[in-house]
Symmetry: C2
Subunit: 208 residues, 2 copies
């Protein structure tokens, strides 16, 4: 069969197609660089219209990751999607969802395990990059933690997916991000691949 087999060339052609087809001119230049990688992860150029970010988010995210900020992920799939060789400071990638104490915390909070897992982020939250690619309840609970005075992360990458709470939690983030820079994708779309791609985009400017 005739198909492209060179990984670098596949990347180059993919990114060229994205630049030709997506309306990246609708985005600030810095955010457009990130958008290319998000589009690459999901195969959909029309996510551009749903992207939203605070004006300082990309620069602050790049600086935080360069300075070694830990990456706090709501799901193991998000953690697995982060390309370790792209990380400039051997940043810690942390997912607490499967910690043994999480079900007990969830019962205490009357919330999901995804939300409860954030309670274990507290020691690492100050200056971290939070990456939510699965659970709306995780994003909602993060905002609750910030309202209660928890240490502020450097950046919130908010990409929960689905039909119950995803659009609502991202709308709340964009309306009031509690003073924390953010990048999000409005609506039901999101997911671990897009969330991980946002980290990969901020970790290194080069496409390859």
């Amino acid at each position: 069969m005739n198909y492209l087999r060179n990984g670098d060339e596949i990347y180059r052609q993919s990114f060229a197609i994205i630049r030709a087809e997506a309306h990246l001119e609708e985005l600030p230049t810095e955010l457009a660089l990130v958008a290319v990688r998000l589009i690459h992860a999901c195969g959909m150029t029309d996510i551009v219209k749903d992207l939203d970010a605070s004006s300082d988010a990309v620069a602050i995210g790049r600086a935080a990751i360069a300075n070694g900020a830990p990456l706090l992920c709501d799901a193991q799939m998000v953690a697995n999607g982060i390309t370790r060789p792209r990380l400039p400071a051997a940043n810690q990638v942390i997912c607490t969802l499967n910690q043994p104490e999480v079900p007990t915390i969830a019962a205490q909070l009357s919330n999901t395990r995804s939300a409860a897992a954030l309670e274990l982020w507290r020691p690492n939250l100050a200056g971290a990059v939070v990456v939510i690619g699965n659970a709306p309840t995780a994003l909602f609970h993060l905002l609750e933690l910030l309202d209660e005075g928890a240490p502020k992360p450097a950046l919130i990458l908010g990409f929960p997916v689905g039909f119950v709470g995803a659009a609502e939690s991202k709308a709340e983030l964009a309306a009031n991000s509690r003073g924390v820079p953010f990048i999000t994708l409005h609506g039901r779309r999101g997911g671990s691949a897009i969330a991980a791609a946002s980290v990969n985009a901020l970790a290194k400017e080069s496409e390859l």
Copy 2:
């Protein structure tokens, strides 16, 4: 903040929204049950129009997994998305992408690491369920292995994503699946969450 915090209830409401909005009546009954879970994973009801499967795929997939078929995944994110407690036979979940010999095999084959990793599937290929949620080259190479006479898996779940080769590899699968039952999503969309959801749907009929 006011949001739904009960995991089971979030599932129920999500699936109810999907059943109300998606045109599931366009699909065979068995495939519709799988489609609900794929839609849940990606937040998009309109994937129904791009779903394609051989007529026997769902029944054969359910039987294979019930009988303990190993799940051969092209990416670690796919493997991580498979909900282990749903698996009826403690099925092995295998991803060979990060095996140390893969880069050498990739160089020998002049193909990607994702494609090369399939060479290490050969001992487990007969009767397995293949789950491709990332790399078009993995799906193309699987079809090449079958053309060369490799043992046939029980089912191919073909959900590579992206701009170069994804649509083409899935079109080739649907046009000639080499006698192997398949489920696929035509076009550029796909990805590890959808691929893992297809396994989770076949592993257990219950939504929760």
